[in-house]
């Protein structure tokens, strides 16, 4: 019977000779009891942990940055597509550019001269106070055809036209040659309607940029002067 418990005598382990340039085989680690080794291993472990945390943090940071960028782009798109609200009017857009676009985009060339005239009135009037003009439009008082309006924002001027019609009917002022209507609006704005015999100008003004005195003492006389000057030419 085999004696399973019988120990065979240990054979001596031959060390392989180490060739030149060849790494030494890994030496057996020192026993855990060596305090320097324990410290070394602990430091290695901690370093690894820190590196792992750093990698995780960097990954998260990248994801957050990506999300932020996507959100910003989406907000920008939403902002552009936002419907009627004066808060979203592109104030920085120059009225003169609008005027140019408006004039050149009108297909009817026979009316082009008229547009140019009335737009010129506006352009001459508002050149110094461009910042305060949120919207400008010119309408024919007889048929309420909108001759021109800035492209910064589109308002339904035909409705304003109906109101002016009713206003003129009600006040029996059809004979009146020139008048203005100033409405103090919410959202820190004035609506200024300068009514002439044949046309009226609708201006939406920013109260942050223009005071009432500015509107009535500078804008109004200038608009009237430019209108008559253009009409007489």
């Amino acid at each position: 019977m085999w004696n399973f418990f019988k120990k065979e005598p240990k054979k001596p382990i031959k060390k392989k000779p180490v060739k030149k340039g060849q790494k030494k085989p890994a030496t057996k680690k020192k026993p855990a009891s060596d305090p320097l080794d324990i410290l070394d291993r602990t430091l290695d472990k901690k370093l690894n942990e820190i590196q792992e945390h750093k990698i995780q943090f960097d990954n998260k940071k990248q994801i957050v940055q990506k999300n932020d960028k996507e959100q910003l782009n989406s907000e920008k798109k939403t902002h552009i597509n936002k419907p009627a609200d004066i808060n979203f009017i592109q104030k920085t857009q120059k009225i003169s550019e609008d005027i140019h676009i408006s004039v050149t985009s009108k297909p009817n060339k026979t009316l082009q001269d008229n547009y140019t005239h009335f737009v010129q009135v506006l352009s001459n009037t508002i050149k110094d106070i461009e910042k305060g003009i949120l919207f400008a439009g010119v309408t024919d008082i007889r048929n309420h055809q909108v001759l021109f309006q800035t492209y910064t924002h589109r308002y339904d001027l035909s409705i304003i036209g109906n109101f002016i019609n009713q206003y003129l009917d009600l006040t029996e002022k059809q004979g009146v040659k020139e008048t203005f209507l100033l409405i103090n609006l919410t959202e820190n704005a004035f609506l200024y309607l300068q009514i002439f015999e044949q046309h009226y100008y609708t201006l939406l003004l920013d109260k942050n940029e223009l005071s009432l005195g500015h509107v009535l003492n500078i804008l109004k006389p200038e608009l009237i002067k430019n209108y008559h000057k253009t009409l007489n030419n």
Partner: protein
């Protein structure tokens, strides 16, 4: 609403405008009937009640912001009409003013705020 105080409010306006006030009416929105005034003009009251209504609808329909607290009309012969809005209270206060006798700064920065304050005091009394 203290009607006696309301009449006093009209007097406050008249005194501050120093002879420039030609006519004035305080009326309830929608009915166009005046409850106090000076040199009252019932036709003008009914008319401007309608004008305000049209204006509200026109501004809303056109996409503009709504009326805040007043609107101003320039009439012939330097006459001006100012219509104050008291939306919460449901009243309007219209006044016909001679622009030759009072400047706009005086009207809008001194007389109108004083009148507005007097109205609200009378209303809340």
């Amino acid at each position: 609403m203290n009607v006696k105080k309301l009449k006093e409010a009209v007097n406050v306006l008249n005194e501050s405008l120093d002879g420039a006030l030609i006519s004035s009416d305080i009326w309830s929105s929608g009915t166009g009937t005046a409850i106090a005034g000076y040199n009252q003009n019932p036709q003008a009251t009914a008319l401007f009640d309608k004008v305000t209504d049209y204006m509200h609808k026109a501004l809303k329909g056109a996409g503009f912001p709504g009326i805040k607290d007043f609107y101003l009309l320039e009439m012939e012969n330097d006459m001006m009409v100012v219509v104050l809005q008291f939306k919460e209270q449901g009243y309007q206060w219209g006044m016909l003013v001679d622009g030759k006798k009072v400047n706009l700064g005086m009207l809008l920065n001194i007389s109108v705020p004083a009148a507005r304050k007097a109205f609200l005091e009378a209303y809340n009394d």
